[in-house]
């Protein structure tokens, strides 16, 4: 097995699927010859040719819209949007067509396509390069929204996404693109979309996090462990459709919930999980669920962003407060 970071693992997934299925095509702005601004598609054009892996005009709406046309006509397009902050010109295509094609054609036309984009903050980037808009996409019926937190998960989830017969928004936490290395099989393997993973078992509190937030959460859990708290950590992995069962079972066991995400607080994944706690485990709750999140503001430029994103200390305080409520 090779040791890979997330960039390499995603590249490996694309490589594997390009080899495995002649209908898979990979494209986006600078995604061909250059291998993408984060080098996720590096080497793929040289290996599979310009027909399979190619650069597109600088136009997000048609990258997604043409991707939909390709998907309807038998291909398995994997569109790369350079940053999730630049997905909005394609938003009309995503919400008006990609998400609805199966529904409105009564299943006669489908959109088996993946829209990949680096997302999230913490890399000292320019404006529009640090947002976390997963809740916007999770709110749209017909889409699946996936966010991996490790190289291993990224590869297995992306392979599943490419093989999925419904459209998948695949958001890659760019802060940890190269931060974590682990052993990743070179062969194709799948991780089920819609299934969360219990990273650590515990019985006093359920913490749900995903993407780049897993690391500061794990740091907070180290501190909590020293204090003698028993905390269960769930990596959501798929934002939509939500793995309600895994989360609800955990809350029923622990009676407490803390959700961590870097997206703005209101109307987000945290709110949805708190609703789930109320709907599925109200009588088990021992404390009010809490959210540790980004703020309901525009993401600040680098001199302000550290305060905006949750860090281990903030997460730890919420853990303590909830358990000691």
């Amino acid at each position: 097995m090779a040791v890979m970071n997330m960039v390499q693992a995603i590249n490996s997934a694309l490589d594997g699927k390009l080899a495995d299925d002649k209908n898979v095509v990979v494209f986006g702005e600078d995604a061909g010859h250059e291998g993408g601004v984060f080098r996720v598609t590096e080497g793929l054009q040289a290996k599979f040719g310009e027909k399979r892996v190619f650069d597109t005009p600088l136009a997000e709406s048609v990258i997604v819209g043409a991707g939909l046309g390709m998907a309807i006509n038998g291909l398995r397009p994997v569109c790369e949007l350079q940053f999730s902050g630049f997905m909005y010109p394609a938003f009309n295509q995503i919400i008006s067509h990609v998400a609805r094609m199966r529904y409105r054609s009564r299943g006669t036309l489908t959109a088996p396509m993946v829209i990949r984009a680096p997302y999230g903050g913490g890399i000292r980037a320019l404006e529009h390069h640090s947002e976390s808009a997963e809740a916007i996409y999770a709110h749209i019926p017909g889409l699946k929204v996936v966010i991996p937190s490790t190289p291993y998960d990224a590869k297995g989830l992306l392979i599943s996404a490419i093989e999925d017969n419904d459209p998948v928004i695949f958001l890659e936490p760019k802060k940890i693109y190269r931060a974590i290395k682990q052993e990743v099989p070179e062969d194709l393997y799948r991780i089920k979309i819609g299934k969360a993973k219990v990273l650590q078992e515990g019985d006093q509190l359920t913490v749900v996090a995903y993407g780049a937030m897993i690391r500061p959460t794990q740091q907070a859990l180290q501190q909590a462990k020293k204090d003698g708290y028993s905390v269960e950590l769930i990596d959501l992995r798929t934002i939509s459709p939500l793995d309600r069962e895994t989360v609800a079972d955990s809350i029923k066991k622990t009676g407490r919930l803390v959700v961590v995400h870097e997206a703005a607080k209101s109307f987000g994944t945290g709110a949805e999980l708190m609703a789930l706690a109320n709907e599925e485990a109200f009588l088990n709750l021992e404390a009010p669920p809490m959210r540790v999140t980004g703020m309901d503001t525009t993401v600040p430029l680098p001199k302000g962003e550290d305060m905006f994103f949750p860090e281990a200390g903030r997460i730890y305080e919420a853990i303590k407060k909830t358990i000691e409520f």
Partner: protein, 360 residues
């Protein structure tokens, strides 16, 4: 043909004039008498169907729908010039194109009568559902064409949009993509003079829509969109061009929406009766009928017979449509994903249970 009818030189292809006389013999498409009669029959059918649909809407038996009257030649001529295996990506005012492609008035009534079943076309129809967000469908056409080319198939794609649609970003993005990747796509512009209330002159400063093609490095041609023969010929040329791997073509068909934008619209607010009256003699059915009569292929008796048959057929489809009950509750849920997520399943059960209680 595309060189001859240079849009920058103010050229417009017309083969048959308003009186049904052939004025462009050189460009006359090779069509059998049977095909010509079939074309007129389809145009007449579409006209009656449109009138019926508007009238059913007025009676409260259909919901808001767009009127097609006046645009039959553009819709039917373009669709008839294509092969069965070609793809069609409509906007929403192409009833005639739908009918040629294989949809029926039952689909039309279902869609505008409030059911997604109206977009469930028979397998292999290669017709996309109507696209309401203006010009967004041009990008789908680019992608369908890209895939056809990728697979080495000879299919071409036609997509329709109006004059207002040329102001949209997706008009630019779709044509540009198709041009860059040399995709076999016909961008068919139904320039009917108005985008709801806004006249064409206020939509773009370009003298013609066809000339916009030049900026994309592709052929563009302006045609008389009320002349079935010109529409058929230009679309055939564009299809040949695309099928031979030469890339996309932009066709601007000059036509006129004789009716309202939709049944909710009132054109007297933004255009004069005089202007409408000027267009009535130019509409596509009158000249096609004269042309066929001059050739001895049509007469009053045939007209009446076909009108009666078409009316009965359309009424039959409407009867069939009215037999459809409201959408079954399960159908609201079951087409959202290939496999229904648990959370959605729970919503379906909850709603089912509510109605079971309510309806006892």
């Amino acid at each position: 043909m595309f060189k001859t009818f240079d849009p920058l030189k103010g050229k417009r292809l017309q083969i048959m004039n308003e009186n049904g006389e052939i004025v462009g013999e050189k460009w006359m498409p090779k069509l059998s008498d049977d095909k010509l009669v079939e074309a007129y029959k389809t145009m007449l059918y579409a006209r009656i169907a449109d009138e019926k649909a508007v009238s059913y809407q007025r009676q409260g038996r259909l919901f808001t729908l767009p009127a097609n009257m006046g645009q039959e030649a553009a819709a039917i001529g373009s669709a008839m010039a294509l092969e069965k295996t070609d793809w069609m990506v409509p906007a929403y005012r192409e009833l005639g194109s739908w009918l040629v492609k294989g949809a029926t008035m039952l689909h039309y009534f279902l869609y505008f009568g409030g059911s997604e079943e109206g977009s469930r076309f028979p397998e292999g129809t290669r017709l996309l559902p109507v696209s309401v967000p203006i010009s967004s469908q041009l990008t789908h056409a680019a992608g369908l064409g890209f895939a056809a080319q990728y697979k080495g198939e000879k299919d071409v794609v036609i997509t329709y949009f109006g004059d207002g649609g040329t102001s949209q970003g997706d008009f630019h993005e779709g044509i540009n993509w198709a041009a860059v990747f040399n995709c076999p796509v016909i961008f068919f512009n139904n320039n009917n003079g108005y985008a709801i209330s806004l006249p064409r002159a206020k939509q773009t400063k370009s003298e013609t829509i066809a000339q916009k093609a030049i900026a994309y490095g592709i052929p563009g041609i302006q045609i008389d969109g009320n002349d079935f023969l010109a529409v058929y010929r230009a679309t055939s040329e564009a299809a040949k061009h695309a099928r031979e791997g030469k890339g996309p073509v932009l066709i601007e068909a000059i036509t006129y929406r004789l009716g309202a934008h939709t049944t909710s619209d009132d054109p007297t607010k933004y255009r004069t009766k005089e202007e409408e009256a000027e267009w009535h003699p130019k509409e596509p059915l009158i000249r096609m009928r004269k042309f066929l009569e001059n050739k001895g292929l049509w007469d009053d008796a045939k007209e009446q017979k076909h009108r009666d048959e078409a009316t009965a057929d359309i009424e039959g489809h409407f009867k069939e449509f009215e037999k459809y009950k409201n959408t079954p509750l399960e159908d609201i849920f079951k087409y959202q994903y290939e496999e229904m997520p648990d959370g959605l399943k729970a919503q379906m059960v909850e709603l089912r249970n509510y109605y079971d209680r309510k309806e006892g």
